[in-house]
Amino acid sequence: MIRYVMRRVGLGVLTLACVYAVTFLMTVSVPGNPLQSSERRLAPEVEAALRARYDVDHNGRYFLQLFSGLMRLDFGPTFQYPDWSCNEILAQALPVSVLLGLSAMLTAVLIGVPLGAWSAVRRGVAGAAATTLALLGTCVPTFITGACLLLCFGVWLKIAPVGGWGTISALPLPTITLALPFAAYIARLTRVGMEEALRQDFIRTALARGIPERRVLWGHAFPVAFLPVLSYLGPATAQALTGSFVVEKVFSVPGMGQHFVNAALNRDAGLLIACVTVYAALVIAFNLAVDLVHAWIDPRVRGEAAT
């Protein structure tokens, strides 16, 4: 097991390096001048000076410089915000995104799993209502839910602040908005998983042996049904933790999602690579964690994963 984990961590680092290199190649090959920050055109000599200053006059050199920075966990300067370094920006944005992402994932699991399980077990109106709700979660775009929630609770009912980030009361609306699609997906996965699990022979056997229904449901069927949810939780959590552009924009949350998008739109190589590295590291870490838990729960996967 330890060897397996070591191997996976090693592979993760390799993957990270590839992500890093490909992102770098992409940023330098996309047209658009990262050094120009306003609509005024840069004078050629000023641009040459800026290129020298940020070391972007030679791609190989620039890559080495960024990479050696990465080794020291220093992501270097950003072009768009000269007063800040990438590290400082991440230090400000990441805690916000982690807080929002964690609470959103928590909400999503708390809503999605019971809803999915419930709708699989109980049919009729209750199940249909639960399913419809879950479907609505996948079918209404975040920018619509966000705007509607903001209008309802912020403007008309005045029970939530509209004015951005600062108090704990600013947390619920973006959390719900961010959580809804995740919750819907989790509910769907749980329901399908639960339906499948209930049709398995071992459930029939368990019931035939007279084990109480509640125990069969939660002790036998649910762990099997939860497996797909678990696989999904890995990348989903990584995604939630690195922020969502739409939610951050609608609710003025100073998180990482906006940097992800804006850095790409601004061709801000340093910041973009910083964001991508953090995101990729999280994805890899969470996927590893999920696979480990998976292997621990499901013996069938274990043999395959270890090879």
């Binding site: 047209p31 658009g32 001048n33 990262p34 920050s37 306003s38 005024r40 055109r41 840069l42 004078a43 000599e45 000023v46 641009e47 040459a48 000076a49 800026l50 020298a52 200053r53 006059d57 030679h58 190989g60 050199r61 300067p77 768009q80 915000y81 000269p82 007063d83 800040w84 370094s85 400000q92 944005a93 982690v98 807080l99 964690l102 609470s103 928590l106 699991v109 903001l150 912020g154 403007v155 005045k158 602040p161 509209v162 004015g163 951005g164 980030w165 600062g166 704990i168 947390l171 939660w218 649910f222 762990p223 939860f226 924009k249 609710f251 003025s252 100073p254 906006q258 739109l265 729960i297």
Partner: protein, 644 residues
């Protein structure tokens, strides 16, 4: 299994709780306003965005200030008016004796020289460096001497590290002023070796050392000459209170420029943040570079606060993408009279949320309401239902550039090299319909480049009328009867804001009135800028905002070879008129020449297609007094009173 899930949930809950502890409410400032997206920089020399400048003009005090009601220069750090020599080329500014930095030290003329010198350094990359280099004697020479040296030192330092250079970079070594040093030192270091390109094998290894040596010599020679060279620039701090500026050509509007925050003074402590190499305050590449964090508010151990500013406010806190907080500078001369003691610029990524926050009373003031339903806001303001929404005409124009220079664009013949075709397209645009029906937010239809009535003393020429019949006639004259023979017209626009809507409306008008086939090409900002810079367009959307109160702030854009002349318009006649105006002594004659210049370029030659002059709605909560709407959206907070 269930237990594992519960443990997981508890862990998540704990995480949320701990993270929640980081969120703490802030004390409410006297004035809280909306800063669209975050400021890009608080280094005044590097600014070019209005939201940055708005903070800078409260943090720094320039020679003069801009009266927010009249936009005329008034006394600030220096007494207005300056003493001007008979030929108009030498201006003497007398600094006020009560000017104080936020650490209590007096503001001196040398601080201004320091600030302006930073502005023209190539490493600063200031958009507004031309305020000094275009007008102050010797400044352009100094800046280009520095740029050249930076080019040479960059190439040499790359060579010294063993990197290859391309031909373009190699050519820097040959053409530069430093070529002599390069040749001499190179010969000394390498003996009689041929050109740099001919090096190979072991010689490269030796050469790497030699390049390093060469770089050192050039660097030291350059560093030693720095101050002597700068002494030739027409900026002189005669004593602590007297600053003399010599111009290379008359600059009657310089008092206006002197109120622009990029010309702020710099406290001596800023120099401590300069990067140094081999004892000189330059980088290896010869750049003057400051630790970018010098603008970030810090309380040092001895109780002094950074950055040191001389304006009515000082910087207390800057949370990235969240807020910037200012408090009164206790050493400022008016400190005791300023009613608004603290100001917070809050960041709202979404303009709609910003307006909702204003409605909820969470912010007091929005400098410019930019929502997609701004026509509804404008209507409320017009009807008098909401006196707190104040429509304000800006000195800014939304226009389109015709590609006047390239005979072929993307493999298609470009008809717009012909002035008749440009004029035909300009005549066939119903600007009234776009402003009145499409935008509906009080923008004025633009028949000229310069918004009429925004620049004192300037009389706008007769603009381009709406005359589709005339347009068709001109088009026929140019060889395209009923638009036959015209290639598909390619219109490039930026996909942000109202540009897509306006571009679509314009395209349809040309299809209707001229029979042209138009293809719209919307691109996000960077790709748009790239295409525009490479002039890969027939027609491209653009804006221009006035920087100072003089027609040249607009007209210089159309001069041949101007860096912002995206249309590629080149007219000797127009350039001659601008040059004549540049040397004209009589202000009225000067304005007449400029008027003629605008009529030539915009009306006769139709180098650009003006569409509308911006009107912006500002929102000021009732009880907030002293925020005067003006065409630059500059708001000094020191005169503001807030009643809750």
């Amino acid at each position: 299994m269930l237990r594992a899930v519960i443990v997981l949930l508890i862990a998540l809950l704990a995480g949320v709780y701990i993270a929640g502890k980081w969120i703490s409410p802030r004390p409410r400032p006297d004035l809280r306003y909306v800063n669209s997206s975050d400021v890009h920089t608080l280094d005044p020399a590097r600014m070019s965005w209005t939201q940055d400048l708005r903070l800078a003009l409260n943090l720094w005090e320039t020679l003069y200030a801009c009266d927010p009601r009249t936009l005329k220069p008034v006394s600030a750090a220096a007494e207005f008016p300056p003493e001007i020599s008979a030929d108009g080329l030498t201006w003497t500014f007398r600094l006020r004796e009560d000017g104080r930095w936020s650490d209590g030290a007096p503001v001196t003329a040398a601080d201004f020289v320091r600030g302006w010198r930073r502005l023209i350094e190539p490493g600063t990359a200031a958009d507004y460096a031309f305020f000094v280099t275009d007008y102050v004697e010797g400044a352009a020479q100094y800046a280009s001497w520095r740029s050249e040296a930076v080019g040479v030192l960059t190439v040499l330092s790359r060579l010294a590290e063993g990197w290859s250079i391309n031909e373009e970079q190699a050519s820097v070594l040959a053409t530069a002023e430093c070529a002599e040093i390069v040749r001499r030192a190179y010969a000394e270091a390498m003996g009689n070796v041929a050109e740099p390109e001919a090096l190979s094998g072991a010689r490269i290894a030796r050469a790497v050392l030699a390049w390093g040596e060469l770089h050192r010599r050039v660097f030291e020679a350059h560093a030693a000459e720095l101050d002597a060279r700068f002494a030739r620039v027409g900026l002189e701090a005669v004593d602590d209170q007297t600053l003399i500026v010599r111009f290379r050509r008359p600059c009657p509007f310089f008092a206006d420029l002197a109120a622009f925050p990029v010309l702020a003074p710099m406290h001596p402590s800023v120099e401590e943040h300069r990067e140094r190499w081999r004892g000189a305050p330059l980088t290896r590449e010869g750049l003057v570079v400051y630790d970018s964090r010098w603008t970030r508010p810090v309380k040092t151990s001895d109780g002094a606060a950074r950055p040191v500013t001389n304006g009515p406010y000082r910087l207390i806190e800057w949370r990235f993408k969240r807020s910037v907080r200012l408090e009164v500078n206790p050493h400022h001369r008016d400190a005791s009279q300023i009613a608004c003691r603290s100001v917070e610029a809050a960041v709202f990524a979404d303009a709609n949320s910003a307006l909702l926050a204003y409605e909820a009373g969470e912010v007091d003031f929005i400098p410019t309401v930019e929502v997609s339903y701004d026509h509804a806001i404008f209507r409320l303001a017009e009807s008098g239902d909401r006196p707190d929404f104040q429509p304000t005409p800006l000195a800014a124009t939304s226009f389109f550039n015709f590609n006047c220079a390239d005979a072929e664009v993307d493999g298609r013949a470009n008809p717009f090299v012909d002035a008749r075709v440009r004029r035909a397209f300009s005549l066939a645009l119903d600007r009234e319909a776009i402003a009145r029906h499409v935008l509906q937010r009080g923008d004025r239809p633009a028949r000229t480049f310069i918004p009429p009535g925004t620049l004192p003393g300037y009389d706008t020429p007769e603009g381009i009328p709406f005359d589709p019949e005339g347009g068709r006639r001109l088009l026929e004259e140019a060889g395209y009867p009923q638009g036959r023979g015209l290639p598909v017209i390619d219109v490039l626009f930026n996909t942000s804001g109202a540009h897509p809507v306006v571009s679509q409306a314009i395209a349809r008008q040309w299809e209707t009135h001229l029979g042209a086939r138009v293809e719209l090409r919307g691109k996000e900002s960077k790709a748009f800028a790239e295409d525009k810079a490479r002039r890969r367009f027939m027609i491209s959307q653009a804006n221009w905002y006035a920087d100072y109160n003089d027609p040249t702030t607009f007209l210089d854009v159309l001069a041949t070879g101007n860096g912002n002349n995206d249309s590629g318009y080149a007219s000797a006649e127009f350039d001659a008129l601008l040059a004549q105006a540049g040397t004209a002594d009589d202000p009225e004659a000067r304005m007449r020449l400029l008027k003629e210049a605008e009529a030539t370029a915009v009306v006769r030659d139709a180098a650009i297609l003006p569409v509308f002059h911006y009107t912006s709605v500002i929102a000021v909560r009732e009880g907030v007094e002293g925020l005067h709407p003006n065409s630059r959206l500059w708001f000094p907070f020191s005169g503001v009173t807030v009643r809750r």
